[in-house]
């Protein structure tokens, strides 16, 4: 499956039309107190583009994608998501959050709700959907991530891989235009990584705009249009996956790649 779509990434060739931009980050800085965690970030993402962000731990990659749905607040520069600028305006934040889905490393399912209730919660309370419709919709997404039979169980009864797939279904249920993935497979046992990546690859095939923080280089090669390498709060290098892995330009990139590929 991975090979079938590996020829589709050809984003470099298509022209950059500004109306086609779904995320536009300009000269963005962020500090945690005195620590300058993101330095002069400039990033444009086109509709339907899939970007993998990698880099050593502490390089600011998670913080970057968490700024996009305002789980972290940037202090300088602009972030425009689908035409809405992220400011202190609570209404804007609300609009952006309901359009941007996020999947976390630790799944963060609600332990007091069943799988079905987890998935249907936001459509009921944010989209004001009737319960029957929300649950029907939730079942549809649970089928899409291939665990409809677990609908009435609690998250604690599921394996890590199953929990992460529920978390993906929970985000998709809000019909987001952008999906953010924050190291979605890092907390999983090796044998469960594939089932989650399969779901993500399928999602990529459907044309979803995706920003994925991950070290799964196979996934990056198969799915990403662009790979971004971050270190020390800066974007060091960005390129197509083929170029990035076979022909890295920067020394820090080479060092990083040698570290993650040599074990």
């Amino acid at each position: 499956m991975a090979n079938e779509i590996s020829d589709t990434p050809s984003a470099e060739a298509t022209s950059v039309d500004s109306s086609d931009l779904i995320i536009s980050i300009k000269e963005m800085h962020k500090w945690f107190d005195d620590f300058h965690v993101l330095k002069d970030i400039n990033l444009d993402v086109r509709r339907g583009e899939r970007i993998v962000i990698c880099g050593p731990s502490g390089s600011g990659k998670s913080t970057l994608i968490r700024c996009i749905n305002r789980l972290e607040q940037h202090q300088k520069g602009t972030i425009i998501v689908d035409g809405t600028e992220l400011t202190q305006d609570l209404k804007n934040i609300e609009i952006i959050r309901s359009e941007v889905g996020m999947v976390f490393q630790q799944f963060n399912l609600f332990p007091h709700l069943t799988v079905l209730e987890n998935v249907a919660l936001a459509p009921i309370w944010v989209r004001k959907m009737p319960r029957a419709e929300a649950e029907e919709n939730a079942m549809k997404y649970l089928e899409r991530v291939k665990i409809p039979e677990q609908a009435s169980k609690y998250p604690g009864q599921l394996s890590g891989g199953q929990q992460q797939r529920v978390a993906i279904a929970r985000s998709l249920c809000m019909s987001p235009r952008i999906m953010l993935f924050d190291e979605p497979t890092s907390a999983l046992d090796p044998e469960m990584i594939k089932e989650v990546l399969d779901v993500m690859i399928e999602l990529a095939e459907s044309g979803m705009t995706m920003l994925v923080v991950t070290h799964e280089m196979g996934f990056a090669t198969a799915v990403a249009h662009r790979v971004i390498f971050m270190d020390g709060g800066e974007i060091i290098e960005e390129n197509t996956p083929q170029e990035f892995f076979t022909n890295p330009e920067h020394d820090r990139t080479k060092l990083f790649l040698s570290q993650i590929l040599h074990h």
Binding site: N108, F110, R131, A134, Y154, S171
Partner: protein, 397 residues
Amino acid sequence: MKDNSSQASNPLTRLWRNQESRGVIIQIITITLLFAIIALIGRNVVINLAALDKEFSFTFLTWPAAYDIGFSPFLEYTSQSTHLKAAAVGLLNTLLVAITGCIFASILGFTLGILRLSKNWLVNRIAYTFVEFMRNVPVLIHILAIYSLIITLMPPVKKALDLGGGQFFISNRGFYMPSPVFEPGAWMVGVAMIVAILSVFLFRRWAKKVQDNTGKIYPVFWISIGIIFGLTGIVFIAAGMPLSWDVPALKGFNFKGGMAIKPEFLALWLALSYYTACFIAEIVRAGILAVSHGQTEASKALGLRNNRVLQLVVIPQALRIIIPPLSSQYLNLTKNSSLAIAIGYMDITATLGGISLMQTGKEMETMILVMGVYLLISLCISGYMNWFNRRIKLTER
């Protein structure tokens, strides 16, 4: 080689080596010893009571108590009443301070606990200082301090402070305020209030159904408040406002009419409430902090607003952590109310376990009764809290 130890010939040794039979033997020995000790104590009591020429009986409860109780808001009590009635007054006073104390302590405790989590530096520090100071001073000191503050700082009755319009007075004998007098037709207002509360229940069920069916979300909380106050208010006005106030007035040496809150009750109630509230604040804070930050982030990423995040995700999980230690704080408050005896608030310890004991010399009987009463109250509280805990404790796996 000789046959190994599992083949012991002596049947007693074999019984002792067997795990199951050894357990039974130990239990029999323990129970025998326990009953022997109880019998020994019982025999001692009987012999000693006989030597003192006392008999074990509860008939003293029907004797006239021959002492006054200054604070009996529920029962008609004079010094001619029986010891039983004095005990009943004491029990009601204990229940009064325990129930009102638990309610006030909960409100104050939840508020303080949430303030402790505030990101505002000043609010956070004030709540922190209050909690740390109050819970690290013994509750008896708090009771005595507040009581002496009221007694020494407040003016005597003759010079009572008038807090507005000659209706509210403060003196060292208590706080005086107008008491409501219900006139004919007041029952309609009462009925209206009950109807309003019932209709709120119905409205909530209806609103949930509407949400399930159509997705529409009503501001349930505000509409409920509106129903209760609106309906009751309309009926109150329609019935010609059947309520007047009995205003306290200084006559001779004391106030006549109105309601009085005695300094003993006030000191005990305040001290027990804020002392316990500080422990509740810490429990609430710990409960909310125990819900991982990831839960809040995941809900926000889904587009839920802050109040919904609390209502749907954080509070349901925090309550399960809060309820069990909260019930032991309610038990503490109730049992600590026996410190009333230090300032002369006539609770069950001060009446039955205090003056009645002194006057009748029935130490055994009164102490058994007092202990039984506290035990019963405590069992009721923990029974209720266990029921509540089971109700909110949802399965996780």
